[in-house]
Amino acid sequence: MDALIRVEDLCKTYEVGDIRIPALNGINLSIGAGELVAIMGSSGSGKSTFMNVLGCLDVPTRGRYYLEGREVGSLNRDALARLRNEKIGFVFQGFNLLARTSALENVELPLIYGPLPAKERRRLAGEALQAVGLAGREDHHPNQLSGGQQQRVAIARALVNRPSIILADEPTGNLDTQTSREIMELLTRLNQEKGITIILVTHEPDIAQYCRRIIRFRDGKVLADRLQGDRSGQGPKGTEVEGEV
Protein backbone atom coordinates (compact mmCIF):
# COMPACT_ATOMS: atom_id res chain seq x y z
CA MET A 1 0.00 0.00 0.00
CA ASP A 2 1.14 3.47 -0.86
CA ALA A 3 2.16 5.84 1.92
CA LEU A 4 -0.48 8.30 3.07
CA ILE A 5 1.86 11.19 2.41
CA ARG A 6 4.77 11.10 0.00
CA VAL A 7 6.82 14.10 -1.08
CA GLU A 8 9.53 14.02 -3.71
CA ASP A 9 12.11 16.73 -4.15
CA LEU A 10 9.73 19.26 -2.62
CA CYS A 11 10.89 22.88 -3.02
CA LYS A 12 9.21 26.11 -2.08
CA THR A 13 10.76 29.46 -2.89
CA TYR A 14 9.28 32.77 -1.82
CA GLU A 15 9.98 35.83 -3.87
CA VAL A 16 10.11 39.06 -1.96
CA GLY A 17 10.76 41.76 -4.51
CA ASP A 18 13.84 40.57 -6.43
CA ILE A 19 15.12 38.37 -3.65
CA ARG A 20 14.37 34.65 -3.78
CA ILE A 21 14.11 32.97 -0.41
CA PRO A 22 14.22 29.18 -0.52
CA ALA A 23 12.04 27.88 2.31
CA LEU A 24 12.06 24.25 1.32
CA ASN A 25 14.96 22.81 -0.55
CA GLY A 26 14.35 19.31 -1.84
CA ILE A 27 12.45 17.35 0.77
CA ASN A 28 11.93 13.63 0.30
CA LEU A 29 9.70 11.96 2.83
CA SER A 30 6.90 9.56 3.25
CA ILE A 31 4.55 9.18 6.17
CA GLY A 32 2.34 6.17 6.55
CA ALA A 33 -1.24 6.02 7.77
CA GLY A 34 -1.58 6.00 11.54
CA GLU A 35 1.82 7.52 12.30
CA LEU A 36 2.37 10.11 14.98
CA VAL A 37 5.15 12.37 13.78
CA ALA A 38 6.81 15.37 15.36
CA ILE A 39 8.56 17.90 13.17
CA MET A 40 11.20 19.93 14.94
CA GLY A 41 13.55 22.65 13.93
CA SER A 42 14.54 26.19 14.67
CA SER A 43 12.46 29.02 13.27
CA GLY A 44 13.20 29.57 9.61
CA SER A 45 14.03 25.91 9.12
CA GLY A 46 11.07 25.49 6.78
CA LYS A 47 8.90 23.36 9.02
CA SER A 48 5.92 25.73 8.89
CA THR A 49 6.15 25.98 5.12
CA PHE A 50 6.26 22.20 4.99
CA MET A 51 3.12 21.99 7.11
CA ASN A 52 1.36 24.50 4.87
CA VAL A 53 2.16 22.42 1.83
CA LEU A 54 1.07 19.22 3.57
CA GLY A 55 -2.12 21.01 4.63
CA CYS A 56 -2.89 22.02 1.05
CA LEU A 57 -2.82 25.65 2.10
CA ASP A 58 0.13 26.26 -0.16
CA VAL A 59 1.45 24.64 -3.32
CA PRO A 60 5.12 23.71 -3.86
CA THR A 61 7.25 25.61 -6.35
CA ARG A 62 8.86 22.38 -7.50
CA GLY A 63 8.58 18.71 -6.69
CA ARG A 64 5.62 16.49 -6.07
CA TYR A 65 3.28 15.89 -3.16
CA TYR A 66 1.15 12.77 -3.16
CA LEU A 67 -1.71 12.62 -0.68
CA GLU A 68 -3.25 9.13 -0.61
CA GLY A 69 -1.44 8.47 -3.86
CA ARG A 70 -2.88 11.53 -5.56
CA GLU A 71 -0.68 14.32 -6.84
CA VAL A 72 -1.76 17.55 -5.14
CA GLY A 73 0.65 20.15 -6.49
CA SER A 74 -1.30 20.80 -9.66
CA LEU A 75 -4.74 21.22 -8.12
CA ASN A 76 -6.62 24.53 -8.22
CA ARG A 77 -7.90 26.54 -5.27
CA ASP A 78 -11.28 24.89 -5.07
CA ALA A 79 -9.91 21.37 -5.32
CA LEU A 80 -7.43 22.19 -2.55
CA ALA A 81 -10.25 23.57 -0.40
CA ARG A 82 -12.13 20.33 -0.91
CA LEU A 83 -9.10 18.26 0.11
CA ARG A 84 -8.64 20.36 3.24
CA ASN A 85 -12.29 19.90 4.03
CA GLU A 86 -12.37 16.14 3.61
CA LYS A 87 -8.88 14.84 4.41
CA ILE A 88 -7.19 17.30 6.73
CA GLY A 89 -7.83 18.75 10.14
CA PHE A 90 -5.86 21.71 11.48
CA VAL A 91 -4.89 22.54 15.03
CA PHE A 92 -3.13 25.87 15.48
CA GLN A 93 -0.97 27.35 18.18
CA GLY A 94 -3.38 30.25 18.68
CA PHE A 95 -6.46 27.94 18.55
CA ASN A 96 -8.04 30.07 15.77
CA LEU A 97 -11.60 29.66 16.92
CA LEU A 98 -14.30 32.03 15.72
CA ALA A 99 -15.02 34.51 18.48
CA ARG A 100 -18.61 35.12 19.53
CA THR A 101 -19.50 31.69 18.22
CA SER A 102 -20.39 28.74 20.42
CA ALA A 103 -18.10 25.73 20.81
CA LEU A 104 -20.59 23.57 18.97
CA GLU A 105 -20.79 25.94 16.02
CA ASN A 106 -17.02 26.23 15.89
CA VAL A 107 -16.77 22.46 15.67
CA GLU A 108 -19.51 22.39 13.07
CA LEU A 109 -17.67 24.86 10.83
CA PRO A 110 -15.93 22.38 8.49
CA LEU A 111 -19.21 20.51 8.01
CA ILE A 112 -21.13 23.52 6.71
CA TYR A 113 -18.87 23.46 3.66
CA GLY A 114 -19.83 19.83 3.08
CA PRO A 115 -23.01 18.14 1.94
CA LEU A 116 -24.51 17.13 5.31
CA PRO A 117 -27.89 18.45 6.51
CA ALA A 118 -27.94 20.72 9.56
CA LYS A 119 -29.26 18.09 11.97
CA GLU A 120 -26.56 15.59 11.06
CA ARG A 121 -23.91 18.30 11.36
CA ARG A 122 -25.05 19.14 14.88
CA ARG A 123 -24.94 15.50 15.87
CA LEU A 124 -21.42 14.98 14.55
CA ALA A 125 -20.19 18.20 16.15
CA GLY A 126 -21.67 17.10 19.47
CA GLU A 127 -19.94 13.75 19.19
CA ALA A 128 -16.61 15.38 18.39
CA LEU A 129 -16.91 17.62 21.46
CA GLN A 130 -17.66 14.56 23.54
CA ALA A 131 -14.60 12.81 22.13
CA VAL A 132 -12.36 15.62 23.38
CA GLY A 133 -14.03 15.64 26.78
CA LEU A 134 -16.07 18.81 26.39
CA ALA A 135 -19.57 17.38 26.56
CA GLY A 136 -21.83 19.94 28.21
CA ARG A 137 -19.82 22.93 26.97
CA GLU A 138 -21.55 23.12 23.59
CA ASP A 139 -22.92 26.61 24.13
CA HIS A 140 -19.82 28.15 25.67
CA HIS A 141 -18.07 30.79 23.62
CA PRO A 142 -14.27 30.72 23.27
CA ASN A 143 -13.85 33.57 25.76
CA GLN A 144 -15.69 31.49 28.37
CA LEU A 145 -13.24 28.60 27.98
CA SER A 146 -9.71 28.09 29.25
CA GLY A 147 -6.81 27.80 26.82
CA GLY A 148 -6.76 24.03 27.12
CA GLN A 149 -10.49 23.85 26.55
CA GLN A 150 -10.21 26.11 23.53
CA GLN A 151 -7.55 23.86 22.08
CA ARG A 152 -9.81 20.87 22.71
CA VAL A 153 -12.55 22.65 20.76
CA ALA A 154 -10.04 23.21 17.97
CA ILE A 155 -9.11 19.52 18.05
CA ALA A 156 -12.80 18.58 17.93
CA ARG A 157 -13.13 20.85 14.89
CA ALA A 158 -10.16 19.09 13.28
CA LEU A 159 -11.75 15.72 14.04
CA VAL A 160 -15.29 16.34 13.03
CA ASN A 161 -14.88 15.61 9.34
CA ARG A 162 -13.13 12.29 10.09
CA PRO A 163 -9.96 13.37 8.33
CA SER A 164 -7.03 11.14 7.43
CA ILE A 165 -4.53 13.59 8.87
CA ILE A 166 -4.47 16.10 11.66
CA LEU A 167 -1.82 18.77 11.25
CA ALA A 168 -0.99 20.50 14.50
CA ASP A 169 1.23 23.55 14.35
CA GLU A 170 2.68 24.00 17.84
CA PRO A 171 -0.56 22.88 19.45
CA THR A 172 0.81 23.40 22.98
CA GLY A 173 2.74 26.59 22.28
CA ASN A 174 0.29 28.76 24.21
CA LEU A 175 -0.42 26.34 27.04
CA ASP A 176 1.14 25.58 30.42
CA THR A 177 2.90 22.28 31.07
CA GLN A 178 -0.02 20.53 32.71
CA THR A 179 -2.45 21.53 29.98
CA SER A 180 0.12 20.73 27.30
CA ARG A 181 0.34 17.23 28.67
CA GLU A 182 -3.42 16.83 28.62
CA ILE A 183 -3.57 17.99 25.01
CA MET A 184 -0.76 15.65 23.98
CA GLU A 185 -2.49 12.78 25.75
CA LEU A 186 -5.65 13.59 23.85
CA LEU A 187 -3.79 13.67 20.54
CA THR A 188 -1.97 10.39 21.17
CA ARG A 189 -5.23 8.79 22.22
CA LEU A 190 -6.90 9.91 19.00
CA ASN A 191 -3.91 8.57 17.09
CA GLN A 192 -4.13 5.20 18.76
CA GLU A 193 -7.88 4.77 19.05
CA LYS A 194 -9.03 6.25 15.79
CA GLY A 195 -5.86 5.62 13.78
CA ILE A 196 -5.67 9.22 12.62
CA THR A 197 -2.30 10.25 11.31
CA ILE A 198 -1.05 13.18 13.35
CA ILE A 199 1.80 15.42 12.33
CA LEU A 200 2.76 18.10 14.79
CA VAL A 201 5.32 20.84 14.77
CA THR A 202 6.95 21.68 18.06
CA HIS A 203 9.98 23.31 19.62
CA GLU A 204 9.70 21.41 22.84
CA PRO A 205 11.52 18.08 23.18
CA ASP A 206 9.04 17.09 25.92
CA ILE A 207 6.22 17.30 23.46
CA ALA A 208 8.17 15.55 20.73
CA GLN A 209 8.74 12.66 23.14
CA TYR A 210 5.11 11.69 22.71
CA CYS A 211 5.81 10.90 19.08
CA ARG A 212 7.43 7.76 17.79
CA ARG A 213 8.98 9.47 14.83
CA ILE A 214 10.80 12.78 14.96
CA ILE A 215 11.86 14.65 11.86
CA ARG A 216 14.27 17.53 12.25
CA PHE A 217 14.46 20.35 9.73
CA ARG A 218 17.24 22.77 9.06
CA ASP A 219 17.56 25.32 6.25
CA GLY A 220 14.73 23.80 4.28
CA LYS A 221 16.14 20.29 4.40
CA VAL A 222 15.57 17.20 6.48
CA LEU A 223 18.41 16.99 8.96
CA ALA A 224 17.36 13.86 10.79
CA ASP A 225 14.46 11.45 10.62
CA ARG A 226 14.53 8.91 13.38
CA LEU A 227 12.24 6.50 15.09
CA GLN A 228 12.34 6.37 18.85
CA GLY A 229 12.15 3.15 20.78
CA ASP A 230 8.70 1.70 20.96
CA ARG A 231 6.89 3.91 23.42
CA SER A 232 3.39 3.30 22.32
CA GLY A 233 1.01 3.10 25.22
CA GLN A 234 3.07 5.41 27.33
CA GLY A 235 1.63 8.62 26.01
CA PRO A 236 -1.69 8.42 27.78
CA LYS A 237 0.01 7.51 31.02
CA GLY A 238 2.01 10.69 30.83
CA THR A 239 3.13 10.75 34.42
CA GLU A 240 5.09 7.56 34.00
CA VAL A 241 6.80 8.89 30.92
CA GLU A 242 7.86 12.02 32.66
CA GLY A 243 9.88 10.16 35.19
CA GLU A 244 11.97 8.59 32.50
CA VAL A 245 12.64 11.62 30.34
Partner: protein, 408 residues
Protein backbone atom coordinates in the same frame (compact mmCIF):
# COMPACT_ATOMS: atom_id res chain seq x y z
CA UNK B 1 -22.31 25.66 1.28
CA UNK B 2 -26.06 25.89 1.28
CA UNK B 3 -27.97 29.14 0.92
CA UNK B 4 -29.67 28.68 4.28
CA UNK B 5 -26.35 28.16 6.09
CA UNK B 6 -24.85 31.14 4.36
CA UNK B 7 -27.86 33.28 5.26
CA UNK B 8 -27.51 32.20 8.88
CA UNK B 9 -23.83 33.07 8.91
CA UNK B 10 -24.60 36.49 7.40
CA UNK B 11 -27.40 37.24 9.85
CA UNK B 12 -25.22 36.21 12.77
CA UNK B 13 -22.38 38.51 11.81
CA UNK B 14 -24.83 41.38 11.25
CA UNK B 15 -26.31 40.73 14.67
CA UNK B 16 -22.91 40.68 16.31
CA UNK B 17 -22.22 44.18 14.97
CA UNK B 18 -25.71 45.59 15.53
CA UNK B 19 -24.79 49.28 15.68
CA UNK B 20 -22.54 49.15 12.67
CA UNK B 21 -25.06 47.17 10.63
CA UNK B 22 -27.76 49.67 11.51
CA UNK B 23 -25.66 52.70 10.59
CA UNK B 24 -24.75 51.05 7.31
CA UNK B 25 -28.38 50.31 6.61
CA UNK B 26 -29.28 53.88 7.47
CA UNK B 27 -27.91 55.03 4.12
CA UNK B 28 -30.20 52.64 2.29
CA UNK B 29 -33.11 53.40 4.63
CA UNK B 30 -32.83 57.12 3.95
CA UNK B 31 -32.30 56.54 0.24
CA UNK B 32 -35.31 54.29 -0.23
CA UNK B 33 -37.43 56.45 2.06
CA UNK B 34 -36.46 59.57 0.13
CA UNK B 35 -37.26 57.97 -3.23
CA UNK B 36 -40.69 56.93 -1.99
CA UNK B 37 -41.54 60.32 -0.46
CA UNK B 38 -40.27 62.27 -3.46
CA UNK B 39 -42.01 60.10 -6.02
CA UNK B 40 -45.19 60.21 -3.92
CA UNK B 41 -45.13 64.00 -3.90
CA UNK B 42 -44.44 64.17 -7.64
CA UNK B 43 -47.11 61.60 -8.48
CA UNK B 44 -49.54 63.39 -6.20
CA UNK B 45 -48.97 66.66 -8.01
CA UNK B 46 -49.56 64.97 -11.32
CA UNK B 47 -52.70 63.28 -10.10
CA UNK B 48 -53.99 66.61 -8.84
CA UNK B 49 -53.38 68.24 -12.22
CA UNK B 50 -55.09 65.37 -14.00
CA UNK B 51 -58.03 65.79 -11.65
CA UNK B 52 -58.16 69.49 -12.41
CA UNK B 53 -58.19 68.78 -16.12
CA UNK B 54 -61.14 66.48 -15.59
CA UNK B 55 -62.77 69.02 -13.25
CA UNK B 56 -62.40 71.81 -15.77
CA UNK B 57 -64.32 69.76 -18.26
CA UNK B 58 -62.88 67.60 -20.93
CA UNK B 59 -61.96 68.57 -24.48
CA UNK B 60 -62.40 72.25 -23.84
CA UNK B 61 -61.77 75.06 -26.29
CA UNK B 62 -62.01 78.73 -25.31
CA UNK B 63 -63.09 81.32 -27.85
CA UNK B 64 -62.19 84.87 -26.82
CA UNK B 65 -62.83 88.16 -28.58
CA UNK B 66 -59.90 89.70 -30.40
CA UNK B 67 -57.94 92.73 -29.28
CA UNK B 68 -59.43 96.20 -29.37
CA UNK B 69 -57.51 98.98 -30.92
CA UNK B 70 -57.81 102.35 -29.24
CA UNK B 71 -56.08 105.17 -31.09
CA UNK B 72 -53.58 102.84 -32.68
CA UNK B 73 -52.81 101.14 -29.36
CA UNK B 74 -53.76 97.49 -29.53
CA UNK B 75 -55.06 96.07 -26.30
CA UNK B 76 -54.56 92.47 -25.29
CA UNK B 77 -56.55 89.51 -26.56
CA UNK B 78 -60.03 89.17 -25.11
CA UNK B 79 -60.54 92.92 -24.72
CA UNK B 80 -62.67 93.19 -27.84
CA UNK B 81 -66.39 93.31 -27.67
CA UNK B 82 -67.38 91.57 -30.84
CA UNK B 83 -68.36 88.12 -29.58
CA UNK B 84 -72.07 87.43 -29.09
CA UNK B 85 -74.46 84.67 -28.17
CA UNK B 86 -75.23 84.42 -31.88
CA UNK B 87 -71.61 83.47 -32.56
CA UNK B 88 -72.05 80.68 -30.01
CA UNK B 89 -75.23 79.51 -31.69
CA UNK B 90 -73.52 79.47 -35.09
CA UNK B 91 -70.60 77.46 -33.71
CA UNK B 92 -73.05 74.96 -32.26
CA UNK B 93 -74.92 74.68 -35.54
CA UNK B 94 -72.06 74.98 -38.02
CA UNK B 95 -69.30 72.86 -36.52
CA UNK B 96 -69.69 69.10 -36.72
CA UNK B 97 -66.81 68.45 -34.32
CA UNK B 98 -68.43 70.48 -31.55
CA UNK B 99 -70.60 68.84 -28.94
CA UNK B 100 -71.70 71.78 -26.83
CA UNK B 101 -71.12 75.49 -26.44
CA UNK B 102 -71.51 77.82 -23.49
CA UNK B 103 -71.22 81.55 -24.04
CA UNK B 104 -70.32 83.41 -20.87
CA UNK B 105 -70.99 86.96 -19.74
CA UNK B 106 -70.37 88.42 -16.35
CA UNK B 107 -68.10 90.32 -14.04
CA UNK B 108 -67.03 90.67 -10.44
CA UNK B 109 -69.84 92.21 -8.42
CA UNK B 110 -71.02 92.58 -4.88
CA UNK B 111 -73.65 90.09 -3.78
CA UNK B 112 -75.80 90.86 -0.76
CA UNK B 113 -77.78 88.60 1.54
CA UNK B 114 -79.42 90.17 4.57
CA UNK B 115 -76.72 92.20 6.26
CA UNK B 116 -73.91 90.18 4.67
CA UNK B 117 -72.16 91.13 1.46
CA UNK B 118 -69.47 89.46 -0.58
CA UNK B 119 -67.63 90.39 -3.74
CA UNK B 120 -67.54 87.55 -6.17
CA UNK B 121 -67.58 86.59 -9.83
CA UNK B 122 -71.14 86.71 -11.11
CA UNK B 123 -71.37 84.97 -14.45
CA UNK B 124 -74.21 84.41 -16.85
CA UNK B 125 -74.12 80.98 -18.44
CA UNK B 126 -76.46 78.67 -20.35
CA UNK B 127 -77.53 75.41 -18.64
CA UNK B 128 -75.10 73.49 -20.88
CA UNK B 129 -72.21 75.19 -19.07
CA UNK B 130 -72.48 72.90 -16.05
CA UNK B 131 -72.26 69.81 -18.16
CA UNK B 132 -69.31 71.12 -20.15
CA UNK B 133 -67.42 71.92 -16.96
CA UNK B 134 -68.35 68.62 -15.37
CA UNK B 135 -69.92 70.46 -12.49
CA UNK B 136 -72.40 68.78 -10.20
CA UNK B 137 -74.53 70.15 -7.38
CA UNK B 138 -74.54 69.31 -3.70
CA UNK B 139 -78.05 70.69 -3.28
CA UNK B 140 -80.91 72.05 -5.37
CA UNK B 141 -80.86 72.18 -9.16
CA UNK B 142 -79.45 74.16 -12.04
CA UNK B 143 -81.65 76.46 -14.11
CA UNK B 144 -83.29 75.05 -17.23
CA UNK B 145 -83.72 76.30 -20.81
CA UNK B 146 -87.05 77.95 -20.03
CA UNK B 147 -85.62 79.94 -17.15
CA UNK B 148 -82.72 80.83 -19.44
CA UNK B 149 -85.00 82.02 -22.24
CA UNK B 150 -87.27 83.86 -19.82
CA UNK B 151 -84.31 85.65 -18.19
CA UNK B 152 -85.56 84.47 -14.81
CA UNK B 153 -83.76 85.79 -11.71
CA UNK B 154 -82.36 82.56 -10.24
CA UNK B 155 -78.81 81.76 -9.15
CA UNK B 156 -76.59 78.74 -8.57
CA UNK B 157 -73.84 79.55 -6.10
CA UNK B 158 -70.47 78.06 -5.13
CA UNK B 159 -69.38 76.81 -1.73
CA UNK B 160 -67.24 79.83 -0.85
CA UNK B 161 -70.14 82.18 -1.49
CA UNK B 162 -72.43 80.02 0.64
CA UNK B 163 -69.91 80.15 3.49
CA UNK B 164 -69.49 83.91 3.28
CA UNK B 165 -73.11 84.91 2.86
CA UNK B 166 -75.07 82.24 4.65
CA UNK B 167 -72.67 80.70 7.13
CA UNK B 168 -74.46 77.63 8.40
CA UNK B 169 -77.85 78.70 7.07
CA UNK B 170 -79.42 76.73 4.22
CA UNK B 171 -79.13 78.97 1.14
CA UNK B 172 -81.72 77.16 -0.98
CA UNK B 173 -84.77 79.33 -1.67
CA UNK B 174 -83.17 82.41 -0.11
CA UNK B 175 -83.01 85.66 -1.99
CA UNK B 176 -79.69 87.33 -2.71
CA UNK B 177 -79.25 90.72 -4.32
CA UNK B 178 -76.94 91.30 -7.22
CA UNK B 179 -76.77 94.97 -8.19
CA UNK B 180 -79.92 95.42 -6.13
CA UNK B 181 -81.77 92.86 -8.23
CA UNK B 182 -83.19 89.98 -6.17
CA UNK B 183 -82.22 86.44 -7.21
CA UNK B 184 -83.53 83.21 -5.73
CA UNK B 185 -80.84 80.65 -4.91
CA UNK B 186 -81.88 77.36 -6.52
CA UNK B 187 -78.68 75.33 -6.35
CA UNK B 188 -75.36 74.91 -4.57
CA UNK B 189 -72.38 73.68 -6.58
CA UNK B 190 -70.16 70.86 -5.40
CA UNK B 191 -66.75 72.20 -4.34
CA UNK B 192 -63.91 72.14 -6.88
CA UNK B 193 -61.15 73.65 -4.77
CA UNK B 194 -58.34 75.72 -6.15
CA UNK B 195 -57.50 75.83 -9.81
CA UNK B 196 -53.93 75.05 -10.78
CA UNK B 197 -53.27 78.78 -10.69
CA UNK B 198 -54.46 79.13 -7.13
CA UNK B 199 -57.81 80.63 -8.00
CA UNK B 200 -60.75 79.68 -5.81
CA UNK B 201 -63.12 77.96 -8.20
CA UNK B 202 -65.91 77.86 -5.63
CA UNK B 203 -66.08 81.64 -5.26
CA UNK B 204 -68.72 81.98 -7.99
CA UNK B 205 -72.34 82.82 -8.66
CA UNK B 206 -73.92 81.56 -11.86
CA UNK B 207 -77.11 83.08 -13.27
CA UNK B 208 -78.83 82.46 -16.62
CA UNK B 209 -76.92 84.10 -19.49
CA UNK B 210 -79.93 86.04 -20.76
CA UNK B 211 -80.62 87.40 -17.29
CA UNK B 212 -77.02 88.57 -17.07
CA UNK B 213 -77.13 90.18 -20.50
CA UNK B 214 -80.52 91.85 -20.18
CA UNK B 215 -80.93 92.66 -16.49
CA UNK B 216 -77.57 92.73 -14.70
CA UNK B 217 -74.63 93.56 -16.90
CA UNK B 218 -76.07 95.51 -19.81
CA UNK B 219 -73.87 96.30 -22.79
CA UNK B 220 -74.11 98.56 -25.81
CA UNK B 221 -73.72 95.47 -27.95
CA UNK B 222 -76.76 93.29 -27.34
CA UNK B 223 -76.07 89.62 -26.62
CA UNK B 224 -72.41 90.39 -26.05
CA UNK B 225 -70.40 87.60 -24.35
CA UNK B 226 -66.95 87.58 -22.75
CA UNK B 227 -66.03 84.23 -24.10
CA UNK B 228 -67.46 81.06 -25.52
CA UNK B 229 -66.58 77.71 -23.96
CA UNK B 230 -66.71 74.98 -26.56
CA UNK B 231 -66.61 71.27 -25.91
CA UNK B 232 -65.31 69.14 -28.77
CA UNK B 233 -67.09 65.88 -29.42
CA UNK B 234 -63.91 63.93 -28.74
CA UNK B 235 -60.34 64.60 -27.69
CA UNK B 236 -59.18 63.56 -31.16
CA UNK B 237 -61.47 66.17 -32.69
CA UNK B 238 -60.01 69.10 -30.76
CA UNK B 239 -57.91 70.29 -33.71
CA UNK B 240 -60.75 69.81 -36.14
CA UNK B 241 -63.15 71.69 -33.88
CA UNK B 242 -60.70 74.59 -33.57
CA UNK B 243 -60.44 74.79 -37.36
CA UNK B 244 -64.19 74.70 -37.85
CA UNK B 245 -64.71 77.40 -35.21
CA UNK B 246 -62.17 79.61 -36.91
CA UNK B 247 -63.87 79.10 -40.26
CA UNK B 248 -67.35 79.82 -38.99
CA UNK B 249 -66.31 82.93 -37.08
CA UNK B 250 -64.13 84.29 -39.89
CA UNK B 251 -67.05 84.02 -42.24
CA UNK B 252 -69.50 85.60 -39.85
CA UNK B 253 -67.15 88.38 -38.87
CA UNK B 254 -66.38 88.96 -42.58
CA UNK B 255 -62.67 88.55 -42.12
CA UNK B 256 -60.47 89.37 -45.10
CA UNK B 257 -57.84 86.88 -46.13
CA UNK B 258 -54.57 87.82 -44.43
CA UNK B 259 -56.30 90.05 -41.91
CA UNK B 260 -55.62 89.30 -38.25
CA UNK B 261 -58.68 87.53 -36.81
CA UNK B 262 -60.79 89.50 -34.35
CA UNK B 263 -61.12 86.51 -32.06
CA UNK B 264 -58.81 83.99 -30.37
CA UNK B 265 -59.30 80.25 -30.12
CA UNK B 266 -57.48 78.49 -27.29
CA UNK B 267 -57.21 74.86 -26.48
CA UNK B 268 -57.26 74.41 -22.70
CA UNK B 269 -56.27 70.78 -22.76
CA UNK B 270 -52.93 71.75 -24.24
CA UNK B 271 -52.30 74.21 -21.45
CA UNK B 272 -53.05 71.57 -18.89
CA UNK B 273 -50.91 69.05 -20.72
CA UNK B 274 -48.01 71.46 -20.36
CA UNK B 275 -48.69 71.78 -16.65
CA UNK B 276 -48.77 68.02 -16.37
CA UNK B 277 -45.53 67.74 -18.29
CA UNK B 278 -43.78 70.10 -15.91
CA UNK B 279 -45.10 68.17 -12.93
CA UNK B 280 -43.68 65.04 -14.51
CA UNK B 281 -40.30 66.67 -14.94
CA UNK B 282 -40.44 67.79 -11.33
CA UNK B 283 -41.17 64.29 -10.03
CA UNK B 284 -38.40 62.86 -12.18
CA UNK B 285 -36.02 65.44 -10.77
CA UNK B 286 -37.06 64.73 -7.19
CA UNK B 287 -36.80 61.01 -7.83
CA UNK B 288 -33.32 61.23 -9.27
CA UNK B 289 -32.05 63.33 -6.37
CA UNK B 290 -33.39 60.64 -4.06
CA UNK B 291 -31.70 57.95 -6.18
CA UNK B 292 -28.40 59.71 -5.65
CA UNK B 293 -28.83 59.29 -1.90
CA UNK B 294 -29.45 55.58 -2.50
CA UNK B 295 -26.17 55.34 -4.38
CA UNK B 296 -24.42 57.13 -1.53
CA UNK B 297 -25.97 54.58 0.81
CA UNK B 298 -24.53 51.86 -1.40
CA UNK B 299 -21.07 53.36 -1.13
CA UNK B 300 -21.56 53.30 2.65
CA UNK B 301 -22.23 49.58 2.44
CA UNK B 302 -19.12 49.07 0.34
CA UNK B 303 -17.04 51.02 2.82
CA UNK B 304 -18.25 49.03 5.80
CA UNK B 305 -17.90 45.73 4.00
CA UNK B 306 -14.30 46.57 3.09
CA UNK B 307 -13.57 47.34 6.74
CA UNK B 308 -15.39 44.20 7.76
CA UNK B 309 -13.37 42.04 5.37
CA UNK B 310 -10.10 43.46 6.71
CA UNK B 311 -11.24 43.04 10.28
CA UNK B 312 -12.30 39.46 9.72
CA UNK B 313 -9.31 38.39 7.67
CA UNK B 314 -8.42 35.76 10.24
CA UNK B 315 -11.95 34.41 10.24
CA UNK B 316 -11.74 34.12 6.47
CA UNK B 317 -8.43 32.26 6.89
CA UNK B 318 -9.98 29.82 9.36
CA UNK B 319 -12.93 29.21 7.09
CA UNK B 320 -10.64 28.60 4.14
CA UNK B 321 -8.45 26.26 6.19
CA UNK B 322 -11.42 24.09 7.10
CA UNK B 323 -12.54 23.88 3.50
CA UNK B 324 -14.45 27.00 2.44
CA UNK B 325 -14.02 27.57 -1.28
CA UNK B 326 -13.58 31.03 -2.78
CA UNK B 327 -17.20 31.11 -3.80
CA UNK B 328 -18.35 30.22 -0.27
CA UNK B 329 -16.52 33.25 1.09
CA UNK B 330 -17.73 35.44 -1.78
CA UNK B 331 -21.29 34.33 -1.16
CA UNK B 332 -21.05 34.84 2.60
CA UNK B 333 -19.98 38.47 2.30
CA UNK B 334 -22.27 39.19 -0.62
CA UNK B 335 -25.16 37.79 1.40
CA UNK B 336 -24.29 40.14 4.25
CA UNK B 337 -24.41 43.22 2.07
CA UNK B 338 -27.54 42.10 0.25
CA UNK B 339 -29.29 41.31 3.52
CA UNK B 340 -28.31 44.73 4.83
CA UNK B 341 -29.62 46.51 1.77
CA UNK B 342 -32.83 44.46 1.64
CA UNK B 343 -33.59 44.96 5.31
CA UNK B 344 -32.66 48.63 4.88
CA UNK B 345 -34.91 48.73 1.82
CA UNK B 346 -37.85 47.29 3.75
CA UNK B 347 -37.41 49.69 6.67
CA UNK B 348 -36.96 52.52 4.16
CA UNK B 349 -40.21 51.54 2.47
CA UNK B 350 -42.04 51.69 5.78
CA UNK B 351 -40.48 55.01 6.70
CA UNK B 352 -41.06 56.37 3.20
CA UNK B 353 -44.77 55.58 3.33
CA UNK B 354 -44.96 57.06 6.82
CA UNK B 355 -42.97 60.12 5.72
CA UNK B 356 -45.22 60.66 2.73
CA UNK B 357 -48.32 60.46 4.92
CA UNK B 358 -46.79 62.91 7.40
CA UNK B 359 -45.87 65.28 4.57
CA UNK B 360 -49.40 65.09 3.27
CA UNK B 361 -50.80 65.69 6.74
CA UNK B 362 -48.74 68.77 7.48
CA UNK B 363 -48.58 70.41 4.05
CA UNK B 364 -51.95 69.40 2.70
CA UNK B 365 -50.26 68.35 -0.50
CA UNK B 366 -51.73 65.66 -2.56
CA UNK B 367 -49.48 62.58 -2.37
CA UNK B 368 -49.73 59.32 -4.22
CA UNK B 369 -47.72 56.23 -3.22
CA UNK B 370 -47.52 54.09 -6.29
CA UNK B 371 -46.69 50.39 -6.26
CA UNK B 372 -44.12 50.81 -8.98
CA UNK B 373 -42.21 53.36 -6.89
CA UNK B 374 -42.13 50.86 -4.03
CA UNK B 375 -40.99 48.03 -6.27
CA UNK B 376 -38.48 50.22 -8.08
CA UNK B 377 -36.81 51.61 -4.98
CA UNK B 378 -36.75 48.22 -3.27
CA UNK B 379 -35.18 46.45 -6.23
CA UNK B 380 -32.78 49.33 -6.68
CA UNK B 381 -31.74 48.87 -3.04
CA UNK B 382 -31.16 45.17 -3.69
CA UNK B 383 -29.15 46.07 -6.77
CA UNK B 384 -27.09 48.54 -4.77
CA UNK B 385 -26.38 45.80 -2.21
CA UNK B 386 -25.15 43.39 -4.86
CA UNK B 387 -23.22 46.00 -6.82
CA UNK B 388 -21.41 47.61 -3.90
CA UNK B 389 -21.12 44.39 -1.93
CA UNK B 390 -19.46 42.49 -4.74
CA UNK B 391 -16.04 44.10 -4.64
CA UNK B 392 -15.40 43.61 -0.89
CA UNK B 393 -16.76 40.06 -1.12
CA UNK B 394 -14.55 39.35 -4.12
CA UNK B 395 -11.55 40.73 -2.26
CA UNK B 396 -12.33 38.45 0.67
CA UNK B 397 -12.68 35.42 -1.56
CA UNK B 398 -9.29 35.95 -3.19
CA UNK B 399 -7.35 36.11 0.07
CA UNK B 400 -4.50 33.68 0.43
CA UNK B 401 -5.44 31.28 3.26
CA UNK B 402 -1.95 31.31 4.82
CA UNK B 403 -1.70 35.11 4.88
CA UNK B 404 -5.25 35.33 6.17
CA UNK B 405 -4.53 32.89 9.00
CA UNK B 406 -1.44 34.80 10.03
CA UNK B 407 -3.17 38.18 9.88
CA UNK B 408 -3.03 40.02 13.19
Amino acid sequence: MKVSSSLKVALRSLKVNKMRSFLTMLGIIIGVGAVIVMVAIGAGARAMIAEQIAGMGSNLIMVLPGATTAGGVRMGGGTGSNLTSDDARLIQEGCSAVKAVAPIWGSATQVVYGNQNWNTAVTGVPPAFFEIRNWTLTAGRIFNEQEMNGAVKVAVIGKTVVENLFGTEDPLGQVIRIKKIPFTVIGVLSPKGQSSYGQDQDDVVYIPLTTAQKRVFGSNLPNRVRMILVQAADVSLLGEAEKQIEEVLSQRHRQQVGQLPDFTVRNLTEIMATAEQSAKVMSLLLGSIALVSLVVGGIGIMNIMLVSVTERTREIGIRMAVGARSRDILFQFLTESVVMSLVGGLIGMGLGILGAEITAYFTGWNILISTWALILSFSFAAGVGIFFGYYPAYKASRLNPIDALRYE
